[in-house]
Symmetry: C2
Subunit: 346 residues, 2 copies
């Protein structure tokens, strides 16, 4: 994510991420109210511990945490009479905000809501590794988190491999099925690790909601890739730099998500749904907003590979394509949608 | 504390704080080995949770946490046979690094030792308020933490009050006993709050070690104050600015510490000791080191009151007095010493 609070910072341009969080809100609340067994959860602890994976710097993360805590309180109040056998006090809440160690935790901490009704902690590190002691977490939330692969499969940048992704920066728009397969294989591996570590950390009956972008947003990647290729064609960028770069982002379908959850076997699927985002982000201004939003999340990886000058140029050119993007989205009837999954630790 | 990693940053100049941590090391380990009842602690949880209050940015905090975790492991191994009735696994460790929200947590997180054997979290906020859920913490460590008052008593800057601290920036060197009394009254109030919140957070039998500077270091404050008065006498600084400033630092004696603990009544004193720091910081080079070290911790509050230009000038002038400081320390036979206190939650 883009640090700080500048023009292209994540904190000022995360409209896309905000839409995802708002779009999933009712489903997250519903999962807590209908699926979480608060009696089991509170039988061993009077503190509810929530992990927010891929929190970035706010403010989106705070609105999600706010409605999650409220839903958990509501659920507790519904079952207070039965829970009271186990504990006598209203539960306390701990929220663990996680992101990579390069995330700007200073901004996150300084933006924490003053009137929060939870204890807030920061935890740096990759969520593809252990972050918490065994059986200590009751609820996990991650929005746009698991879209990020732990790494790029090396065959994508190996010109001797059938999965070499020449001239492209992502599997979106790639006609070579080997490229898509290599991306999915990495996603499968990452999710197996992810489910195994979370299964250690989450108490029995604890829940995890995962929200990932599905379509609409994703297709925008191709426009960004084509801006880079424009620079190659104008002789401003070496083609080998494009060939050696791939965005470490994967957008699973419901079928793929089901496959990785069932293969792992440690969580049950309580609900899975594709949600169309209410807003109709198809006009030109919206396409611009969307690209600026995309930029705030991917610019970091672009800069570290291409340098800031090329990153700046490619981003600016993609935003100039907003008319074309808008047209393309209308013709293809592409509406932003997200995949919502609620899982329970068996 | 001074942020970043510049010439006068805390991370590069915290020799004084390092000496305090090294000086207390054996006593902290001894308190864990001899006084902590690991059986009671581990009867309700297999995770040992440690709070580090006033962590700053490292590296001192990491060496303290390292020996604390090792001592806790040693203690566990000594009693493994008896503990095994309650849990079957080696305990896991969570360390919560706390400091003000203005602390540079990014530097702290990026400096975390790679080979640490604990889960590390950051928790921003004043330790004169609640930081953790009820009965969730097993061990608290704070070095040079409670020396910082929550605020300056207003009578010190009220020219109508008998405790007006005219021309001085601290109670050290003040001949007016009302000044000392006002400082101690604030320390007493702060400690009552501190003990009450910690008593809520710490499990029964849980321990807290507090390490505070006692003498030697403290007297250096007067040299810093006199540098500011030099600037006043040269017409470079308005005297009212000195009159309206007081360093929010208090250095309790063993008697005073005993008084506040006993008045509160929620903790028992397991050990209290004045320790002379091994090193003999009396020569001129050492006095310089000491002042640079002092500067790294107090410069923040100086800058916010006097502005960075005056702060720079006063610090530079105090370092120039290193010969005088060294002489004074020799004549007064002042050796740096620290007060060590180990408390147990009743």
């Amino acid at each position: 994510m883009n640090a700080g609070d500048g023009v292209y910072s994540y904190s000022k341009n995360s409209h896309l991420q905000k839409e995802m969080i708002d779009g999933a809100k009712e489903m997250v609340i519903d999962a807590i109210i209908r699926k979480l067994n608060i009696k089991i959860i509170l039988s061993s602890s009077n503190t509810l511990r929530i992990a927010e994976l891929g929190c970035s710097v706010g403010p989106n993360t705070f609105s999600a945490m706010q409605y999650i805590v409220e839903a958990l309180k509501d659920k507790y109040l519904l079952y207070q009479d039965q829970v009271i056998n186990f504990t006598n006090n209203i539960p306390e809440f701990q929220i663990f905000f996680n992101d990579h160690v390069t995330n700007d935790f200073n901004i996150l901490f300084r933006s924490l809501p003053f009137d929060r009704s939870y204890y807030a902690y920061g935890i740096p590190g990759s969520f593809y590794g252990r972050l918490f002691p065994s059986r200590s977490i009751h609820f996990v939330h991650s929005s746009s988190g698991i879209n990020w692969l732990s790494k790029i499969p090396k065959e994508l940048v190996d010109e001797k491999s059938p999965a070499w992704n020449k001239g492209l920066i992502h599997y979106v728009g790639a006609s070579n099925v080997e490229v898509v397969n290599a991306y999915f294989a990495q996603f499968e591996k990452d999710m197996e690790v992810f489910f195994n570590v979370r299964a250690e950390e989450i108490v029995q009956g604890g829940m995890m909601v995962l929200i990932t972008a599905f379509s609409g947003y994703i297709r925008l990647m191709r426009f960004f890739g084509s801006s880079l290729m424009d620079l190659v064609n104008e002789g401003k960028l070496d083609e080998s730099l494009v060939d050696s770069f791939n965005l470490p982002l994967y957008y699973p379908s419901p079928q793929e998500m089901t496959k990785v959850v069932e293969k792992n076997g440690l969580f049950s699927i309580e609900r899975m749904e594709l949600i169309n985002i209410k807003s109709n982000l198809v006009d030109e201004a919206d396409a611009k907003t969307l690209m600026t939003s995309l930029r705030s999340s991917i610019e970091g990886v672009i800069i570290s590979h291409f340098g800031s000058k090329i990153a700046e140029e490619a981003c600016a050119r993609t935003i100039l394509k907003s008319e074309e993007i808008s047209e393309w989205m209308k013709v293809n009837n592409e509406k932003p949608s997200i995949l919502f999954v609620a899982l329970k630790r068996k």
